[in-house]
């Protein structure tokens, strides 16, 4: 009758480790929101930034919010979109502003 005890102990250990990580994550989120978020938001306000600096390979991947949906294809008629990040980014859900 030892195997089930070992299994329950292992499951509890793994669940506790995951719980601790998630709890630590939540405390990290709170700490960073209190400490880092205001200076970062001040940076966005001062420099009037509109996008994340994630993909720097093309204009429309660097500033997806400032580009049109057809931007990747407007180099010439029937142009193919060829930047890898273009296939990562999903199309914007809607182009019409919400009332």
């Amino acid at each position: 009758m030892t195997k089930h005890r070992k299994f329950i102990a292992l499951t509890l250990f793994l669940a506790a480790a995951l719980g601790l990580l998630l709890g630590y994550g939540r405390s990290q989120v709170s700490a960073r929101l209190a400490g880092e978020l205001p200076p970062l938001q001040a940076l966005v306000r001062t420099l009037q930034l509109t996008d994340l600096s994630l993909w720097t390979e093309a204009r429309y991947t660097r500033h997806p919010s400032q580009a049109d949906r057809f931007t990747p294809f407007q180099d010439f008629p029937a142009a193919l979109e060829h930047f890898p990040a273009g296939s990562i980014i999903a199309p914007v859900l809607t182009l019409h502003p919400q009332p």
């Binding site: 880092e36 001040a42 001062t46 390979e57």
Partner: protein, 384 residues
């Protein structure tokens, strides 16, 4: 007590085929780790974008000619400022620069004179001609820091030397990694912009509820314009990382298909040895319900262990190792790419969904074939 004894037998049964079950647990945990990594990463990026870009300009007005973004006359600002409800109008000057030396693209951005001090800048923002502040990615790729000179080639193909007076802190990489911030006159001279044109115009609106009304009025007054509201910016980033995005569709669906194959292999039948074992158990007096409970515990033992191991691996991979395995997938051709230091924001609903999508089918695919064997005559089952 009876349940614990059945669990004990189930575990003994798994240990008898230890290498096969260990292989299943490893593959299963890896699949869950991949699925969870994608979900954790996209959710963290979405959260970060929504928090940071909540301070983005309320309205950006571009000029569009022939379907392409064009430079906007600064005089448009006066017409926009006359619209009731508009609090401030600021022309923005920025552009892209391809650095042949590092084969990277930089974003050059102008800042107005006498800029405020920012905590996220080691040093300061430029406040005079020939000065610039750079992002951590530019600093690394060009190996320059505060006090050094950054040499760029302008639109006239002439070298321009800029003194680096500030470097953006690593904490702001997600926003400033490829930025080169310089004074307005330096930037317009660098790109050769005509004096009366800006890249676009940023508009502040007094009442947030009136943003769409102001945008409509701008569109009516200036037919060539394209207003982009903050809510559209936020919606873009909510959409960039949603389930339809390429990353989710490619990595997520590949992992899901791998998992389906694993579950299908289990569900399409049990081995002759397992059938014989079920037949013997029935012959010595086990009820069908006991057999089903035995198989249920076997399924739970494998799937719950795999789920917990997979979730732990995904959390460590994304939030401690900066999603190193997924980075090449999403990096594309970006030469300058930020190292992720993501906000460990985990959506518990997503964790529950991962658990439900992975544990339930596996347990079902373990129990259902066993039920078919358990209701057959023990003698027939033992004969195989």
């Amino acid at each position: 007590m009876r349940h614990l004894k059945i669990l004990e037998y189930a575990l003994s049964s798994l240990v008898r085929r230890r290498y096969k079950n260990l292989a299943i647990i490893l593959v299963y945990a890896f699949t869950i780790a991949v699925l969870s990594s994608v979900l954790f990463l996209t959710h963290a990026l979405k959260t970060e974008a929504s928090l940071l870009l909540a301070e983005a300009p309320e309205l950006i007005v571009q000029k569009v000619i022939g379907g392409r973004h064009d430079l906007v006359p600064v005089a448009y600002g006066e017409k926009i400022a006359a619209i009731p409800g508009v609090a401030a109008v600021v022309p923005r000057f920025w552009g892209y620069y391809y650095d042949a030396l590092t084969k990277a693209n930089y974003t050059l951005l102008a800042v107005e004179s006498d800029p405020p001090a920012l905590d996220m800048v080691q040093g300061r923002l430029p406040d005079g001609p020939g000065e610039c502040a750079i992002g951590a990615g530019v600093s690394q790729s060009r190996n320059v820091g505060t006090g050094d000179d950054l040499i760029l080639v302008d639109s006239e193909n002439l070298g321009v030397s800029l003194e680096v007076v500030g470097v953006f802190r690593a904490e702001s990489r997600l926003l400033t990694n490829d930025l080169v911030v310089l004074g307005r006159n330096d930037l317009t001279a660098f790109f050769g912009y005509p004096p009366d044109l800006a890249t676009d115009i940023s508009v502040a609106v007094r009442n947030p509820r009136e943003v769409n009304t102001v945008a409509e009025k701008i569109k009516r007054i200036l037919p060539h314009s394209r207003p982009i509201s903050r809510s559209e910016i936020l919606r873009t980033y909510a959409g960039v990382f949603n389930w339809r995005s390429g990353m989710m569709l490619s990595v997520f669906s590949a992992a899901l298909i791998a998992f389906c194959i694993l579950a299908w292999d289990k569900a399409t039948g049990i081995s002759a040895e397992e059938k014989r074992e079920i037949g013997i158990l029935k012959a010595i007096g086990w009820e069908t319900s006991d057999i089903l409970e035995l198989k249920f515990w076997e399924g739970i033992a494998v799937s719950l262990t795999s789920l917990l191991l997979g979730l732990l691996a995904a959390y460590v991979h994304v939030f401690f190792l900066g999603a190193t395995v997924l980075t090449p997938v999403i990096k594309g051709w970006s030469v300058i790419f930020p190292t992720f230091r993501l906000l460990p924001a985990v959506d518990f609903y997503q964790v529950l969904v991962i658990g439900f999508l992975t544990v339930t089918p596996y347990v079902a695919s373990t129990v259902v074939p066993s039920w078919k064997a358990a209701i057959t005559d023990p003698e027939t089952a033992m004969r195989g």
